[in-house]
């Protein structure tokens, strides 16, 4: 008999000690799980916080009485009546300016309605409340408003409206929209992808299909992995030094005869963002190319194909879904990035649609940043609305990526 045998628990003691071991195991399991619960709560709190800000009571006063402009209640006016009011009451200079920006006749009824409120009646927001407060303390808010602002109207309002999506920037939160910001984001991302997708895919092809494993290819690979970890604000500084400053003649458009701009343009922002997402695109494309089985390449070489014929006709088409998924992820990254745009010089106030790569620009996250850092709470409400727009955009993009990944099941 093994003399040590006596030192191990047996029978009832063994059962007891095992029970203890299992108890501590389930305790720890619960602790581990709680980390995920915390993550879940954080996510829920974040989403709730955003939605909470985007809806709620607003107390506001009309600076000018609507009755001065029309006998009818405002909400009953039709498009023509709204137009007439604007024509009659705006100074002719102001009206012509608006007409030049976009033909007044072509504007929708809700846009004209907003113009009447913004330019003529003029709203003065006194206070606004979060959605939770509005629902829980509805009566308290009502009495508070009637005491503090006897002339004010109280309205439960969604800050996120179709008008919010389609109107440009404004200095008043009530009339601000994200139209210019969305267009700016789209322009910028378009340029970024136009720059980064071909070069990134090319680099991935080079590394996977051509490069022999030597010092140079190792340096390139390590370098790409490191670039993926460089803080985005450093890319912003690079963009500022290179695209905004050194390439100013090109990025401002002065090389092409455009004069009223400096290097802080959509083009600079797009190129900066392109450089930022390049390592991401390369790494994803490399993975996609790696997943194409060698037997396919051999089959092509076996019938006398050259390297490029093999890549172009067989490797790339089969890696395409993966490359596409990677690019969509890169696009989502670019759409959400803020810091580099601040550094490259996003404009703080811009109400005209961008009309090309040499326009000044703003972008969705830039608007969110600026509105969040304003002191007045109505700006926080439009920041929240812009966040919802941004998140929905990102969700759509990512859903598309997942869809592509699932749709194209590997055949081999």
């Amino acid at each position: 008999m093994n003399p040590n045998h006596d030192h191990y628990p047996e029978g009832e003691t063994l059962r007891q000690s095992l029970k203890k071991r299992y108890r501590s195991a389930s305790l720890w399991q619960a602790i581990f799980f709680s980390a995920l619960v915390i993550a879940m709560i954080s996510l829920a709190a974040l989403l709730y916080n955003v939605i909470d800000g985007a809806f709620g009571y607003v107390a506001f006063e009309y600076k000018n009485d609507p009755a001065e402009f029309t006998a009818k209640p405002l909400d009953d006016l039709n498009k023509q009546e709204l137009l007439d009011i604007l024509k009659a009451n705006l100074s002719s200079g102001a009206y012509t300016k608006l007409d030049n920006e976009k033909l007044m006749k072509k504007r929708s009824k809700s846009v004209l309605y907003t113009l009447v409120l913004e330019r003529l009646i003029q709203i003065d927001t006194k206070q606004n409340w979060s959605m939770t407060d509005s629902i829980l303390h509805s009566s308290g808010i009502k009495t508070e408003v009637s005491e503090k602002y006897p002339k004010a109207k109280l309205e439960f309002r969604s800050w996120l409206t179709p008008v919010f999506l389609t109107t440009p920037m404004s200095s008043k939160a009530e009339f601000a929209g994200v139209r210019t910001a969305i267009l700016g984001s789209l322009w910028m991302v378009g340029i970024a992808i136009l720059f980064a997708l071909p070069i990134g895919t090319g680099a991935a092809i080079y590394l996977q299909e051509y490069a022999i494993k030597n010092f140079l290819s190792r340096v390139i690979q390590t370098n790409i992995n490191n670039l993926a970890g460089v803080p985005s604000i450093v890319y912003g500084m690079l963009g500022l030094a290179i695209f905004v400053r050194a390439f100013e003649p090109f990025t401002s458009g002065s090389m092409f005869g455009i004069t009223d701009s400096n290097g802080r343009t959509i083009l600079s922002a797009g190129l900066t963002m392109g450089v930022l997402v390049l390592p991401l695109i390369i790494i994803n494309a490399q993975e996609a190319i790696k997943a194409v089985p060698d037997s396919l390449r051999q089959a092509a070489y076996g019938v006398g194909a050259t390297r490029w014929q093999t890549i172009w006709h067989h490797v790339l088409p089969n890696a395409l879904p993966g490359i596409l998924t990677g690019s969509i992820l890169a696009v989502s990254r670019a759409i959400g990035e803020t810091a580099p745009l601040i550094v490259v010089g996003a404009s703080t106030f811009i109400s005209l649609d961008p009309d090309g790569p040499f326009s000044k620009f703003t972008a969705l996250p830039i608007q969110i940043y600026q509105w969040t850092t304003r002191a007045q709470s109505e700006f926080h409400s439009i920041a929240a609305s812009a966040i919802i727009v941004l998140l929905v955009l990102l969700l759509t993009l990512n859903a598309t990526a997942v869809l592509i990944r699932n749709r194209v099941q590997r055949k081999y």
Binding site: R21, A35, N49, Y210, V230, V234, I282
Partner: protein, 313 residues
Amino acid sequence: MKQENTILENKNFRPLDLKKKMRPGESVIQSLLFISGVLSVFITVAIVYELGKEALLFFNNPDVTLAKFFGTTRWQPGIGLFGIWPLVTSTLITSAIAIFVSLPLGLAASLFLSEYASPKARSALKPILEILAGIPTVVYGYFALLFMTPLLQKIFGEGVQVYNMASAGIVMGIMILPLISSMSEDALSAVPRVLREGAYAMGATKFETSLQVVLPAALSGIGAALIIGISRAVGETMIVAIAAGAGPNFTFDPFKAAETMTGHIARISGGDLSYNTIDYTSLFAVALMLFLVTLVLNLISQTIINRFRQRYE
């Protein structure tokens, strides 16, 4: 073969020419691809060159001395204050808070996901982390300023300033959590099965195996995750720019406002900065420090991961 089939005719009488063909297209394409590959190296070179050039201009300014840079604690280059410490301490404090939050949570989440969760639970829980990872940092900034700060104020009272490092750090921790969790999960699942089975065969419970055999074996991979997490926290901009404070402040109180390196760059460059001023060059000096610190961290992490992979492959 019923009908005549030319495919099956004898080929051996055909002339054979194996000589090299000119394929100019192939070589042009190969050169283009090579250039794309090398471009990434130029990006790094450009970063180092541009940041270095401007940083050199900054340090060559007669007013800027290393003694002032490292020996004083007020930073306002515009009026001749060149002490870098307030930016560094706030960066360290926010990052430390972020790691303090994200490391235990991320590690615990990864242990649960890789060791305990059924495939079904995994596929239900994993997306939560993926969504968290996909939320833009500016949104986290909003969350920090308008949710976390009021919450901290409710808990800790009026001592908590509107802008404060704690709120930014905690939210940054939530932002980094998915990264640490997924990297740790990779490390845990890379531990070979035989190691686990060895432990089971000696009568260890699943929990004992996870914690005493698998976790230690995956430790270096988890270390790599930690380092990448630090690098990410140091380089994160928007959360601190929005919630940590708008002005350098040499303080160790996490409930006070203080501007980090990244936050400082964002705020100063946000205005219309004119070139060739001390403000402009000083930003590049700060950015260069940032780049070098994150570069070193990333390289260390990558080296650890490569070693780790080799060990278990």
